[in-house]
């Protein structure tokens, strides 16, 4: 009887807990019209250094003043695209606005998980007016423009320490398996990015040939053909390629100091490693930090054989509060706020326009035209013409922050986007990656066998000791006791 009472009470308590939770949820939906639930990458939005206000709070204030209503923004963060995707799958409709990367946006689009943006001229006029023509073109040609508005973008490459590593050594995928840098390189502990690196390693030769053909003065390869080739090559998931990638990644892992996602930046600054496979925004951050805190100069190189161009974009999951979400995207797309974001997080905004361009031109990363080593970098492809003139900046330090943030057209020509994998391919590549991470089974078999031998020896010794083999002879007058 008592047991029943106990259980009953427990059930009641559990029930009470759930109903409270349910009640909370209901409240949220009642407030729904005016609540905006955003999920963004960690450390991916500006925070005012003086007031400590984030752009999110500024948006709240701005929107309230503008429309004379109370709104509430619930801002949360995620760590990987896969986690965000999981959350949305398990709990559809928990977010109004999220910011996944390219391949995840494609996956969500293909699974019909996204709402379309309204006519961009009305819904996100800032992007329509200031968005970079390059970005818009990229989105239009790929058919993403209805579902996503780009936020940040960049390339992938190696951050390197010029004290130990030459540009030529860093500007190739082979850097990851270069014996010279044994224990001084890093790999990303993130399967999608590392697979890209693995393909780069597995196909270095053919990629290098095509790149040579494209960049040669009398080259016959057109830009479009080269792009098609790159896209197919880097997104190749045939059994044969995956096998080669596994082999190469095992080699790269043996050469690497660590598998990391975040610590790489620090390890570069402190000199623990010399070569860090990184996203361009992290590269800018690492270069800034190293310069400020440890007087170390770091550089950034995009492999000559071709690399990845990525972007993160705002998308609205099905059932989102479109009006508020669009207003927020429009707010962060203003040149002023784009600049704030770039200053704070180091990544490159997808917003162009005169204000952003002038900020780049006058930043510490760039130099004056009359500077001795000034090199011209033409960014017209990204910014379009500024006041009828080509968008040209000067820089005396190539391969550093400025080129990491704004790669020249020459670099973007050899960069391609990642595509999403279907479930079956995903499983294959994940198991491949797990095998790479697991290391050599035989080594552990040997260790275990060694342990077994030692244990057996110990048991024998203990048994012998119990029998008194090691005991000293018993003194006269005493009887030996066992």
């Amino acid at each position: 009887m008592k047991k029943t009472v106990c259980l009953l009470l427990a059930a009641l308590l559990a029930g009470a807990c759930f109903s409270t939770l349910a009640a909370c949820k209901k409240d949220a939906t009642e407030y729904g019209e005016l609540t905006l639930r955003i999920c963004n990458w960690e450390d991916y939005i500006s925070e005012d250094e003086e007031t400590g206000k984030t752009l999110v709070e500024e948006f709240e204030e701005w929107y309230e003043n503008e429309n004379n209503v109370d709104i509430k923004v619930e801002y949360s963060t995620f760590g990987t695209n896969e986690i965000l995707y999981n959350n949305l799958k398990i709990n559809p409709g928990i977010y109004d606005l999220v910011c996944p990367s390219d391949y995840m946006i494609q996956k969500m689009m293909s699974e019909n998980m996204l709402e379309k943006f309204g006519n961009l001229e009305e819904s996100v006029p800032n992007y329509e007016e200031y968005g970079s023509p390059y970005m818009k073109n990229l989105f239009e040609t790929n058919g993403w423009e209805e579902y996503a508005v780009p936020y940040m973008w960049g390339t992938m490459g190696y951050v390197y320490n010029p004290e130990f590593v030459e540009y030529d050594e860093a500007a190739t995928w082979k850097a990851a398996i270069n014996e010279k840098f044994k224990n001084k390189t890093t790999l990303k502990d993130s399967v999608r990015d590392t697979y890209f690196l693995g393909v780069g390693l597995a196909k270095t030769d053919v990629l290098g040939r095509m790149s040579g053909d494209y960049y040669a003065e009398n080259g016959t390869l057109s830009s479009a053909d080269y792009q098609t080739f790159l896209r197919d090559a880097f997104n190749d998931t045939t059994e044969e390629t995956v096998e080669k990638v596994e082999k190469m990644l095992k080699q790269a892992k043996a050469n690497a100091f660590s598998l990391e996602v975040d610590e790489g930046k620090n390890d570069m600054a402190t000199g623990k490693v010399w070569l860090n496979f990184a996203w361009s925004g992290d590269a800018v951050f690492a270069m800034d930090e190293a310069e400020e805190n440890s007087d170390t100069v770091l550089c950034y190189a995009v492999p000559l054989e071709g690399s990845n161009i990525w972007y993160d974009g705002w998308v609205m999951p099905k059932g989102a509060n479109k009006k508020l979400a669009e207003a927020f995207v429009n707010f962060v797309s203003s040149p002023e706020n784009a600049c704030k974001n770039m200053d704070f997080i180091g990544y490159t905004s997808a917003i162009g326009g005169e204000e952003v361009f002038n900020r780049i031109k006058n930043s510490d990363y760039a130099c004056e035209i009359d500077d001795e080593d000034a090199e011209e970098i033409d960014l017209t492809y990204f910014f379009g013409e500024i006041n009828g003139a080509p968008a040209i900046v000067y820089c005396n330090d190539p391969n550093r922050q400025l080129t990491a943030q704004y790669p020249s057209e020459e670099i973007t020509a050899r960069c391609t986007v990642m595509e999403y994998f279907d479930d079956e391919t995903n499983d294959r590549i994940n198991s491949m990656w797990n095998r790479v991470k697991a290391g050599n089974v035989w080594l552990y078999v040997i260790i275990i066998s060694a342990i077994a031998v030692v244990a057996a020896a110990a048991v024998v010794i203990i048994i012998l000791a119990k029998k008194g083999v090691f005991a000293k002879k018993v003194k006269k007058g005493f009887t030996k006791i066992n």
């Binding site: 106990c6 308590l13 999981n86 224990n183 100091f257 797990n434 991470k437 290391g439 552990y444």
Partner: protein, 266 residues
């Protein structure tokens, strides 16, 4: 039925807690472990544990790291516990506190400090396996010393004296009297070191620079890769392995032997 409040009802909050946060999660894990991606029943997840190189490798890694760590902890911890408990040092409790103090600081902080120290003495970029073992020993040594200490301090000294009176030398006394009497402490020390070492992947991540994959890490990988079913299956496998291990070491006995388990710690 008459409802009367008795002392037994005080356990209801805990029963509810247990049901919500221990029993329910296990049931959910069981569900995932025995279903595939589409929710259909399958036992293939368990089949994959023994057919996939990555799981076998992770199991062997975990087991070898756990055994080595436990043995080192025992070899280091036993003499310390013995001296503290039996030499009649006046300051023994103070010394004991010194061994426990590190546990008051968050272990992630301590590990990061250890990482910097390793890099200072140029050990960090050497063997990740060795670094992981050192980190594990560093972190779990107190868990070995404490149960040993509590067992040894409670040991009846007259038994040792009797052994010596009857002519046994020190080695014989130790092997035939002290060691068998401290067995409950040794077993509970082993359980408290062996089991968490199998899964504590924070240590292998920080000191082994993620180059070593132990079972805990593999489970995390599967969850991160959106493969909950495989992750749950490995967790269930690990849980049953732990269960068997505890059962073999007599951890479920409720007689006086069990009293020494973890006493002084929890």
């Amino acid at each position: 039925m008459k409802l009367r409040f008795s002392r037994k009802h005080l356990c209801i909050p805990y029963a509810a807690f247990l049901a919500l946060f221990v029993i329910a999660p296990i049931i959910i894990m069981l569900y995932y472990a025995f279903t595939d991606r589409n929710g259909a029943f399958t036992v293939m997840n368990f089949g994959r544990i023994f057919s996939d190189v990555s799981t076998i490798s992770a199991i062997l890694t975990s087991v070898s790291v756990a055994i080595i760590t436990t043995v080192i902890c025992l070899l280091l911890g036993y003499p310390v516990a013995y001296i503290l408990a039996r030499s009649g040092l006046k300051r023994a409790p103070t010394l004991l506190i010194l061994f426990i103090t590190p546990m008051w600081i968050n272990f992630v902080l301590r590990l990061n400090a250890l990482k910097e120290f390793f890099s200072l003495i140029n050990l960090l970029d050497k063997s990740p396996y060795l670094n992981t073992v050192i980190g594990m020993v560093y972190d779990f040594l107190p868990f070995m010393i404490l149960p040993l200490y509590t067992t040894l301090i409670k040991m009846d000294n007259s038994l040792v004296e009797a052994s010596q009176d009857l002519g046994a030398n020190k080695v014989t006394t130790f092997i035939n009297v002290i060691l068998p009497l401290s067995m409950p402490g040794i077993i509970s020390g082993i359980t408290m070191v062996f089991m968490p070492t199998m899964t504590n992947y924070v240590i292998s991540d920080i000191l082994g620079r993620s180059q070593i994959t132990i079972l805990g890490k593999l489970i995390e990988n599967h969850f991160m890769q959106n493969n909950w079913n495989m992750g749950a299956a490995i967790s269930m496998f690990l849980l049953s392995a732990m269960f068997v291990f505890t059962w073999l070491t007599g951890g479920f006995k409720s007689d006086s032997e069990g009293v020494a388990r973890g006493s002084g710690l929890w």
